[in-house]
Every structure is written in structure tokens, then in C-alpha cells.
Symmetry: C2
Subunit: 161 residues, 2 copies
DNA sequence: CTATTTGCAAATAATTTGCAGTGCG
DNA sequence: CGCACTGCAAATTATTTGCAAATAG
């Protein structure tokens, strides 16, 4: 399972263009770090990227990896999965439900939907494995933040001041 | 926005029953901690639960809150959102896509689906706010873990030995 | 009674930051 | 050449763990 070389190149060009547009320096380490994520299908974490890059460039430091990855995210060149909020959140609602997550304040609310419950995704993911449950996350702006001129800052948007 | 008293009671009964079945002691702090999550619509984190419970029971400690919440999760009485993997994962795929996440090894893979992209969830979430994007997470078992008798342990399933 | 559970304090793991030297534009 | 960028080490934040005292069953 490999990403076509051309796609990696396209992503790297995107990075170079965005960096230039943002007047951000194109250092050797930034290129290597971004290339590592761009060439992967596996959503690596910072530590994994660090180890791979370090093999080719023994002097990089983990903190530069973090700085570069957040930079690339700020430039809109990559997204994150996993921790979207600072800490684990707990949910006592046992019925099958989905989430509406506010991009402004991070608040998550449950909602139920027969239509979403009955989605058939087996075909779409059969190349990877067997699906046992489907969960839909709707992102948007909650009524509260919509009203407030300045959305209540929380969760995201606090990294890299 | 409040949860009907009867639903909170039902959840608490579920907790008591499950605890008894698991021969786990029903302490005052466990009840209070679980009640706090059961009565909330807002998916609190451990710190938030801790502060609320502490107001009524000034001696609880944050680590008991954590222990109790993970216990309730083990008993199947609550689920978690947010960090499902140990660390943040990065994704350089800029096209609109969804994820297949393996419950065995934590590996996440991208997939695209016109059908999922065109889901109309606006009505389902209008009570909460305005939707801007929809992301589907399909959970299941990847071909690799399916084959392996003992799935490669990772991500989840490492908490509470 | 006695095995669990608790609170405390100290330990980890992931991620961030201050600072002085280094290199891109 | 100057200021953004790097590497290092130390700081922070969320969460976990060892242990002696407290308590449910």
C-alpha cells in the first residue's frame, strides 16, 4: 500500500507554495518532516515522524517536528485526528447516537438519527476490514457561539499563539 | 437543557446493577462521580467531574474520579470521546474523506464516499447550531487484526491493566 | 474481618516553551 | 547580515501509580 510518487510531489509543492506565501522559511528539516507525513497513508504521530526523519537527518529534534506539524496545520496542509479537545470526555448516553461538535467552543452534543444509523458503509471500507459501528461527527458552529461576536475560545485554536 | 430525572435514575440503576454483577464495591464516591456524568448532557472531562463532585464531597480526589470513570467504561456504562489514540495523529490528505478505525490496532485509514459526503444532517442538528462539515468514522476490525489470532494491542485497551 | 478502595504524593507520557546559537532569504 | 528557526533542556498538562489508612460487604 503506497502513495503515488506524483501525489507526494503535489503535496510537497503545496507546502512550498504555502510557506512562501506565508513568508515562512523553507528549511531542510521542515521539508523532510512534511514529506514524511505527505508520503504516509497511516496518520503517524509526532514521535513516529520524528523517528523516521531522524534516520535520515540525525540532528532533528522532536520539538521541531511538533513545531513543523502545527505549522503545516496552520497553513491548512494537514489535519489532525485523535485529541481534538484537551482531555478525554465521558458520555453516559448508551443509545446509538452521533455528535455535533462546535468548532468555536469545543462543546459536543448528542443527537440521534435513524437515517445515519442505517448507513451502509460496508462496501466503502471492505478493502480495509469489517465495519462494526458507524459514528457521524458533524462539525459546525453552535447557536451560542453564532450569537457571540467573539466565540468562546476553547479546545482547538489555542495552539501556537 | 436538562436530562429527565427518570433517565438519570435509570442510568444509576444500571451502574449499581453492573457493579454488583462485577463484584465491585458501591462506594459513596463512585455513586457521586457516576451520577455527575449520568446527569450531564455535556460530556464533561475528568477535571470537570472532579470539581462538581468536590463541591458536594470535599474529600474526593482527582485520581478516584479517573479510576471510577475508567471503571464505568470497563463496565460498559459510559463511552469516551476525544483522544482515542495516545497522541495526535497527522493527515496530509486534503480531499474530503472519512476514516476507518481499527478497534484492534488503532490504525486509521482514509476512504472517500460520495454518498457520505452528500449526507444532509442540517435538520438533525439544527437545534444545536449550523453544520459546516460532516465526518464519518467507521469502527471495525482491519484485515490484519482479523487474521491475527491475537490482535496487535495498541491505542485503547491499555488503560487499567 | 478482609479484600477493595481511597487520598496523597510522586511518577509518566505527550506536548510546549525559553534561550542562545545557526542559517535562510 | 538580520531575524526566523533550530536544538537543547527545563516546564506544563493530562493521566497513572505505589502505598498506608479507611471502609463496604
Amino acid at each position: 500500500m503506497k502513495l503515488p510518487r506524483s501525489e507526494v510531489a503535489r503535496r510537497l509543492e503545496g507546502f512550498e507554495a504555502a510557506a512562501r506565501a506565508a513568508r515562512v522559511k523553507l528549511t531542510h528539516q521542515r521539508l523532510e518532516i512534511f514529506r514524511e507525513v505527505a508520503a504516509s497513508l497511516e496518520h503517524p504521530d509526532a514521535e513516529t515522524v520524528f523517528r523516521s526523519v531522524k534516520a535520515r537527518m540525525p540532528t532533528v529534534s522532536l520539538d521541531t517536528v511538533y513545531r513543523t506539524l502545527w505549522l503545516a496545520k496552520d497553513l491548512g496542509l494537514l489535519s489532525t485526528l485523535g485529541p481534538r479537545h484537551e482531555s478525554v470526555r465521558f458520555d453516559a448516553n448508551l443509545s446509538h447516537h452521533h455528535h455535533f461538535v462546535c468548532l468555536g467552543c469545543g462543546q459536543a452534543r448528542d443527537f440521534e438519527s435513524e437515517e445515519l444509523d442505517s448507513l451502509d458503509v460496508h462496501e466503502a471500507v471492505e478493502m480495509y476490514g469489517r465495519a462494526t459501528a458507524t459514528h457521524v461527527e458533524v462539525r459546525g458552529i453552535c447557536n451560542n457561539c453564532e450569537k457571540a461576536a467573539a466565540p468562546n475560545p476553547r479546545s482547538e485554536a489555542r495552539r501556537r499563539p
